[in-house]
Subunit: 618 residues, 2 copies
């Protein structure tokens, strides 16, 4: 028996076809008008408040703005030294395969622009729906400006969905003329990736007080080491007797010319328990670095590439100075120097804006997520294993004021296997809202991010933090802990008014984990030593990781009671019973937001657009 | 800190807006033309080969055709006694909530047509995208014909995705004038559901031989009982000495006027081991029914509402008659009489078309899926629990001819908890194609369905059948078995050439299930009796169904080795070792087909369309 499509289907649409053809003719005519119209209305540079260099030489500079009403991002790409075109785009984690790309290419005579995608082998294809909309192109002394626009969501399954959190941007430079999109060999391109938060929150800037002062914590004329990665440490100190102030804003100070090298910077306050700290100015991993600098871990300010100034809400500021707080600060700068430039000098750092007129509330930082303990482990070879840390109703009931707290910023943190981090607020078992979510999280891009919406948390609320890990490159289990090859799942939330609650985290009950080891042992006829002298990491190490043992570990983590750390400081718990606590149960989940396809402002031809740029380069 | 959307975003689109406005004006003008054009080209009845009554009185009659090139269904709905409009639509399982609806309504003066959806509370809303496209409306002596069209997939998340297999159609009648869509109270409507296979395969009809004869197996003037559900049994017999023939086609014979009452019909052949069977003509569940009729279970033909003639592929026919096969046939008719009509007489049945000129191959029927055994169980309270039955490479290697077999039709079967059934063909661990899938399967609608594509199965291939169950209304575990409250997971595949392999099914290894009972016992500190005299259903009954025990049962079923039934008949296995066989492993899954949104042949206004139907009824 064979299928036959030859039998003509009896559709009532003969006339429909004629009319539709008329329609598409109209549409095509309209498109020509539109492109011409847009090329006349090129926006100015000031329209693009966010800016980041794409490549380590700074030849490609991306600026952008976000239109939330239109659910679209407008891009301005400055190409300083245009050769025969370039690729710019987005992909899940910065790979060149399965990427969503805007391509400008030249055959040596004519230039073209088109929306393309790369398949799993890196082969380029023209998109059937053109969603990178070219808005204009402009030659200037510094290079070519290309302006284009992209809706957050296009409903084209080949396209990248622009979401909150990290976006991995990729670029590739065409060094030879190409005669068609298909002729581009993506693997042979000179290119790279840059991580940014594209969807910056649309925050109103609070009014700043008149008595505001500034203080620059900057590295003093450092020679950037000629190696790819350097963490530079510099100790600064506040004046003696410096009274309590509120930091109300801070911004980066990046030495001109080094914009592509300064990857991220943090200012830490040292522990108050030591009267003094030694001076230091050198690499953080140097043997010369005094051990005591390890006690400078309280974050005062953090900045990463592409981020702008950080503003505290007008009711709150971050306290520094005064009795009970250390005068010593540690500046840490991550220099990313993949082209191994030599002799570059740098004096970057962070400028703090502070006031002596204290605001109504001190801001605080609270740690959510998982306790640093090996009982929370990830089997090897997992592409997306999920661990969840809880801040329970019982803890918030005890530790939060009746009027609640307001979370206004968040910094997500894992070690190298982390791929996604999401914190959700739940009330009476019903998920209320996402506190912060990064579905393309990278451990190499840990910013403090202002939230789009301030989140109010009340006594009895639950904060549930979920981390997703990839251990495909590992052959042994990854346990929780402080080591770089161990894992963490943390959301540092910035909030006010400050409370005593510093840490609201959980881990599986160790007794139930012991039952798991026992069960695995019996079910698989394997010998796993259950002797008390064997450590949890050793027990995890001896598990044969078949699908059953993996699945049952997941089941254990989503069933077994938890040990809660509801702590005033990392070692002092609030009074109460915190062992063998029931897992918070969720009866109503937040709906996955179905990406809306914006009503198309114009139809999308599946053909590239020819540009009149003159000849690019011979 | 508050969000501010008041800061004007600097988009380069002032001119864009003007141009876009021009565009939408053009579009609106075009739309008017289109509707007028379509109303002029109303197709004739012969254009709609498939037909089904929607309501038990037959007042609503749906005909349709399917255009695979355009990925759309064209509907013609005949409304015999139009009052103030009606709702027609589709939903996951026939519920009125979360349904996708075309609505015709009248305020007593004017009539309107629109695409709407109902939310989880049954409240109607106008769809932002109008995907039921009105093609025309026509008054005729027998009633109003409404013609409309719907793409399989619309990419509107509120819309139903039309897939292969069962579609639950719903209808509701508006008995009073309504002034707006929102005013319709869906819960107060007179309405109902009808299950059909909308996406009929586009099969070419094989040439029929000249010597073809027909035989009608029909019930002799039955008075349909005045009760909602009756299964009627009637025994027929072939002439004595009737030689072997091939059934090459069959079709329903439905008594005129009873189209809405005859729900489905099957003809079974009795077991050859008995020389004779008693005559019988009465309800199948009657105490008067001879027990021996239970030995008439070999399906010769099956039809259900909305189905058309069934054709065997031209190389094959279903053997009947001749030595070694019983002369006795049992006709079973399911009468569905919810309005409890009295005294309706019926002589419906099935007309067999057969030939003495045997075709090259006998067709055969093979059972895929799960063995009928309590070791395969579903915990209570599950909304979609999955069980999988395997036909392994080892069995097909042994039992199939080198040239393979061709599967051309399939009948899916579960008991009352079944919700989805899917069989996939896998080769060397890679999924090749779907044999048959019904993601809206209903145990009340079990047709033999011709496949869109004949599936070739070769020695070494694997056939994996997955059933999804809902046990939310049950408080105890549901085990596998023959009882109506036990479960099955079966795909009867119709194929040729016939082989000795009648049954290729699996179940979990009982030893591993025993380990599961043990493990649950120890992990939960519960007392589950492991004594050998306690049956598997009793052991399942004593499990406390927490999430851990549920999850681990799932893990067990997807990990533990299986016991294979690779059988010549239900009791005779092929020689070989069939216990503790490894689970087939799948290294490459079939991609979920991403529903393509067809290029819109016209834009979709979000407003209802006014119709000029005159006044409907006062």
């Amino acid at each position: 028996m064979q299928n036959s499509r030859s039998k003509p289907c009896s559709c009532p649409s003969l006339k429909l076809r004629e009319v539709a053809s008329m329609y598409f003719t109209m549409v095509a005519a309209f498109l020509v008008i539109l492109v011409v119209a847009l090329q006349g209305s090129v926006p100015r540079g000031s329209d693009f408040p966010y800016k980041v260099p794409l490549d380590p030489q700074g030849l490609l500079e991306l600026s952008w703005n976000v239109s939330y009403p239109e659910q679209a991002v407008n891009f301005q790409l400055l190409i300083r030294d245009l050769q025969f075109g370039l690729l710019f785009g987005m992909s899940d984690r910065g790979e060149f395969e399965n990427a969503d790309l805007a391509v400008l290419w030249s055959d040596g005579h004519n230039s073209y622009f088109g929306d393309a995608w790369s398949d799993a082998k890196g082969q380029l294809h023209m998109d059937s729906q053109q969603d990178y909309q070219l808005l204009g192109a402009r030659r200037a002394p510094e290079g070519l400006y290309l302006l284009f626009r992209r809706a957050f969501s296009t409903c084209d399954p080949k396209d990248y969905l622009i979401e909150d959190g990290t976006v991995h941007l990729i670029y590739g430079i065409l060094e030879k003329p190409v005669h068609s999109l298909q002729a581009i060999n993506i693997s042979a391109l000179h290119g790279g990736l840059q991580r940014v938060q594209l969807l910056k929150p649309n925050i109103s800037i609070p009014e700043l007080p008149r008595d505001m002062k500034t203080m620059e914590i900057t590295a003093p004329d450092v020679v950037i080491p000629s190696q790819e990665t350097t963490y530079w440490c510099y100790m600064a100190e506040l004046p003696e007797g410096f009274p309590k102030h509120h930091i109300i804003m801070y911004e980066p100070v990046v030495t001109a010319g080094n914009e592509a090298l300064v990857h991220h910077m943090e200012v830490f306050q040292c522990a108050a328990e030591f009267d003094s700290f030694p001076h230091y100015n050198g690499p953080c991993d140097s043997k010369m670095k005094p051990d005591r600098l390890n006690y400078c871990r309280h974050v005062l300010a953090a900045w990463a590439m592409g981020a702008q100034a950080f503003y505290y809400p007008e009711e709150a500021g971050l306290a520094f100075g005064g009795p009970g707080s250390s005068r010593y600060l540690r500046l840490e700068i991550h220099y990313h120097n993949p082209l191994v430039f030599k002799g570059r000098r740098d004096s970057s750092g962070i400028r703090l804006y502070y006031t002596a007129t204290l605001r109504p509330y001190d801001a605080g930082i609270m740690e959510l997520g998982l306790v640093y303990t090996p009982v929370m482990a990830i089997p090897p070879g997992e592409d997306s294993f999920i661990l969840t840390g809880y801040c329970t109703d019982k803890c918030t009931q005890l530790a939060l004021p009746a009027a609640g707290i307001r979370i206004f910023a968040s910094q997500l943190h894992t070690h190298l296997a982390g791929r996604k981090v999401v914190t959700v607020l739940s009330r009476d078992g019903k998920e209320q809202q996402v506190v912060n979510a990064d579905r393309h999280y990278s451990p190499h891009f840990q910013e403090i991010r202002m939230l789009k919406e301030v989140v109010a948390v009340f006594p009895g609320d639950e904060l549930i933090t979920t981390c997703t890990y990839n251990t495909e490159d590992r052959s042994r289990a990854t346990v929780g802990g402080f080591g770089i090859l161990e894992e963490m799942c943390v959301n540092y939330v910035h909030y006010y008014p400050q409370t005593q609650l510093e840490l609201c985290k959980s881990a599986v009950d160790p007794g139930y984990l012991h039952r798991y080891f026992n069960l695995v042992n019996r079910f698989n006829d394997e010998e796993i030593c259950m002797c008390p002298q064997v450590s949890v990491p050793q027990q995890f190490d001896s598990i044969p990781w078949n699908t059953f043992n993996r699945d049952v570990l997941k089941s254990l983590y989503s069933f077994a009671p938890i040990s809660m750390h509801c702590n005033k400081s990392s070692a002092v718990r609030f009074p109460g019973e915190w062992e063998k606590q029931p897992l918070p149960s969720i009866t109503e989940r937040l709906r996955e937001r179905i990406p809306r396809c914006p009503p198309a402002p114009e139809p999308h031809p599946a053909a590239p657009i020819a540009l009149n740029l003159g000849q690019l380069r011979r």
